[in-house]
Amino acid sequence: MDTDLINVSDEEYVVQRAKRSLKIDPVAAKAWMITAKTLYPNNFAVQFEAYKIEKEAGHVKEAAKYFSDLLSKFQREPEFWQEIENVTAALRYEHDASDSEKHFLCDMFKHLSFDVQHQLLLFTAEHCEDTMEHCRLLLLLLQRFPNAISTHGPRLVDTLLSAEKHSHPGNQPVNPYRKLLVSDVLPLLANENINIEFSSKLLFKLLHKSTEFYLCSLEMSKSSVQDPSISIDDPWKKLFGVIELTGRHLGWELYLITFGPNWTKENYWQKILTFCQTHKTSTPEDHMNTKQLIYCLTIFFLNCLYDYNLSLSPEAPPGQVQTSFLLVEAFTDPNLPTPVTEPKSKRRKGDNDTVPVITVDKNESKSVVSNFLMAVNCWDLFHSSDNLQREFAKVNGHIKLDSWLFNFLIDYSIYKGLHDDALVRLQQINDSHLSLPKNIRHSSILYLRKNYTSSFEPLLLAIQSLPTTNRGTLSTQLNTGGIQRHLHFLPLTQMAVLQYCVKLLCRCIKDNLLKQSNNYNELAIGNILVLLQFDWPQEEDLLPLIIEQIRQRGSFSYLLFQAYIINVDILEELTYLWTEQGGQITLDILPHLGQRRIGTRGADKGVKEEIKYAIKRQIARSNEPLDQLIIKFISQERGHILQSLM
């Protein structure tokens, strides 16, 4: 016997014998430990030592047994309390329990009886002073013991709601309490086998909170600074889950709250239409119907809107610059063939006259159109009756959608041709990042309202802030045939925006020209010729008309000729006018020759030579980059341009 143990207490003696045996004979150590435990059942130190010995030896089963004993007797011992916390802490990071102790504790937890596991989690949660910690522990309990959900679930919801209220006065929708409530607790409660009564008030509250949370986190996930603690997997699926939960408790139509794997927007929209046909929602008396329509429609609308926004700024393939799209009023030309858009069967009767054609350059971006139209459908439905409009306003008050709606509503106004509305909204934009789209559309709307002069100012601003890093290509879809209105998703690239502006400016000048009584303005004609060059020969149909006008007039004076007209086709036409066959039209295109226009034949001959040379020089420049030329033209000749717009 070890002599140094003579003076220790009995308890200490037995424990020491166990500890000393541990290294030489673990079996004997266990026998000693059992003895110690039975000798001093109420001595915490002995009992805890027994546990620690088993734990150190890595005996999961035995440690679990001792832990259970301790939990039933010594919950209040600080040292054991610490160990309980270690266990619950380990459980929370179970998936990455790289730490061997954590791993052991998780393993041990699995060997505890269900009752003890339950007791442990509940006990820890109840003794937890930190609310967040308390809620996390309760969540852990509910995750492991679905039976406990109906008992503790509602209380946890209440706790989280009030904790959020007290800790986040600024009402930040994305906060840890909300996240726990919405993305962890609610899915548990949504389980069909859980039988809990919820008041409809609470259900709507949870629906509001969830929607707000997911929208916000979606918004945040797009920003470059991502907080991993906030990111949520498949938020829409979870949000649909909340609708399912709400709908199930409130007895909503099953087809409106079923979002299975085969769910599609088109099908769901048909279901909404079915609902509208079979249920009355137009008066406040149809309260329950209205509620279910409004909430289902809101979530659906937001989903469409979200996808629409995504397709407006689709992710770029690796190594390429991201290109966003902007809905603009594009152009029609009755002389062009009417485009084949969608099959007629898809359209409803009477649509053809009012519904604009929407084009988009790339085929892969077609979804942007359907996403937009679906969102428009929803928006129209919200405003189909005063009652629905009022109810939607209420929901909007709860989940604060205004910032989400802002851009869509501009697009919507443009789509519906509500120019005043669109202008008011455009004027609210102060963000300098958004000034390019703002100016483009501003200019476009002013053109549509025939304010040609004022249309030029925003156009000039747009030209000055072209996206220089994203060059892009010319579009072939800006102009379509037919008489329907034409909208286009314009890629915000240097070339596409410039092309749009050029076409717009060209039309401003042309329409202004048509407005005038004498109908001939050399400056305007010259300016149009300059602009036509940019996406030549897209607008070549205009050239014969202009040439004809010049011919009728017999002379053409345009002093910017040398600076800006370099297109071979245009130069050829002009040169032809100047020849004998062309009618010997006087071309006043060289500034210093102006005074010598009426002179002797001999002198005339010299002039002819000079014009010949001048035209040759212009032809030699025909390969110059047109975009630079046109940008220079618009920004440096604004006086001349404005004159042609007045």
């Binding site: 016997m1 014998r17 079996v27 266990k30 026998a31 000693w32 059992i34 003895t35 000798l39």
Partner: protein, 380 residues
């Protein structure tokens, strides 16, 4: 046939050759014994049929036969007995026939056949035959000579003659827990037991190994026989099964004193402590009797006296130190004290506690034992 008189039954069976007569006889015996209230007359007839037509111990006149069964006859008889017992699903009937076949004055005579029968039942294995054997051991006393005889023979078959079959036995506690428990009790009395024996014998290592595994992996095994109420024939008094706990503790406690230092003893000891912990407290306690728990006492005292004798000429002052330095004795006493402590804490010991503590106080000095005794005297 029920209407036939005793002699008529005998005569009709005697017409058959062996072993056919035995096969018919056992069926008849079953009918006689398993009547709702078997009369003495029926019982006597049954016993006669057994002696004459099954075991061939007497001839038709009641005289003792000089020649015993041939090996072939014996084999055929085993088959008949096994088939009959194994196919008798009524537990009470099976136990009744089994008990009458192998109890009473003829028990020793038939022990040879019995051990072969049980050996077969273990090998097959046949849980219901083993269950009847368990009831038999319990009714005759699982520490009785008969039970020990059976245990010895089974050990011989399985651990000495064909040690290769030991792994197969690891499932025995699951197949027949009650039988295994009673078997263990019988075995525990075979070794480390020098009463009426010139010298102490030790269990073969493979037996020790098997037992250690059984106990370690089945903490409820030791009390299995006490957990089940056997179905006995009407009128029989159920006998209490002795658990193997005290007997096997005796091994682990005494082993160090005999220089038996296999680590298996330590493991078995721990297994036993854990088994004790698993005992559900009942009033009155019945798992371990003080008398059984005192088995090591005499051996320790004797060892101590002999140890002291060696040093009779040595210095008297060092007596305590010498005692403390005797590792074997201290290990033995530590284990003893541990066992007592755990058993007392579970409150599963019955008997004269005062005498028990008095005896323990006579043991050589050991701190744990001292602590244990003080604790339990305080608790009283």
């Amino acid at each position: 046939m029920a209407q036939l008189s005793g002699p008529e039954i005998k005569n009709s069976l005697r017409k058959l050759d062996y072993p056919l007569c035995a096969k018919e006889a056992i069926i008849k015996i079953g009918q006689l014994i398993c009547n709702r209230v078997p009369s003495l007359k029926h019982m006597d007839l049954a016993l006669d049929l057994m002696a004459e037509l099954i075991f061939c111990e007497i001839d038709r006149r009641g005289n003792k036969r000089q020649t015993s069964l041939t090996s072939l006859d014996e084999l055929q008889l085993l088959e008949i007995l096994y088939d009959y017992l194994n196919s008798t699903h009524n537990e009470t009937s099976r136990n009744a026939v089994f008990l009458s076949l192998f109890s009473g004055t003829t028990a020793m005579m038939r022990s040879n056949i019995l051990s072969k029968l049980i050996s077969v039942a273990i090998g097959i294995p046949a849980p219901c035959v083993l269950f009847s054997a368990s009831v038999w051991m319990q009714q005759l006393g699982n520490t009785s000579l008969n039970s020990k005889q059976l245990a010895k023979s089974l050990i011989n078959d399985y651990f000495i003659l064909s040690p290769n079959s030991v792994p197969k036995l690891s499932l025995l506690p699951h197949i027949a827990p009650q039988f295994t428990a009673n078997f263990l009790t019988a075995i525990s009395n075979l070794y480390f037991n020098d009463v009426n024996k010139p010298s102490v014998t030790f269990p073969p290592i493979n037996l020790l190994e098997a037992i250690t595994l059984w106990v370690k992996d089945n903490s409820g095994l030791c009390i299995a026989a006490q957990q089940t109420q056997a179905s006995l024939p009407p009128g029989a008094i159920a006998m209490e099964a002795t658990t193997p706990i005290a007997g096997l503790l005796n091994w682990t406690i005494v082993a160090p004193l005999h220089n038996q230092h296999s680590e298996l003893y330590g493991k078995l000891h721990l297994g036993l402590l854990n088994s004790i912990l698993e005992i559900q407290p009942i009033t009155p306690p019945r798992a371990i009797s003080t008398a059984h728990l005192l088995q090591p006492f005499g051996k320790i005292v004797r060892y101590f006296i002999q140890y002291q004798k060696k040093y009779v000429d040595g210095e008297y002052i060092d007596k305590e130190k010498r005692l403390a330095e005797n590792v074997d004795l201290q290990l033995s006493l530590d284990r003893y004290a541990q066992a007592i402590q755990v058993a007392l804490s579970i409150n599963c010991v019955y008997g004269n506690m005062e005498d028990f503590f008095y005896q323990l106080s006579q043991l050589p000095q050991n701190r744990l034992l001292h602590i244990v005794m003080r604790t339990h005297k305080l608790n009283k």
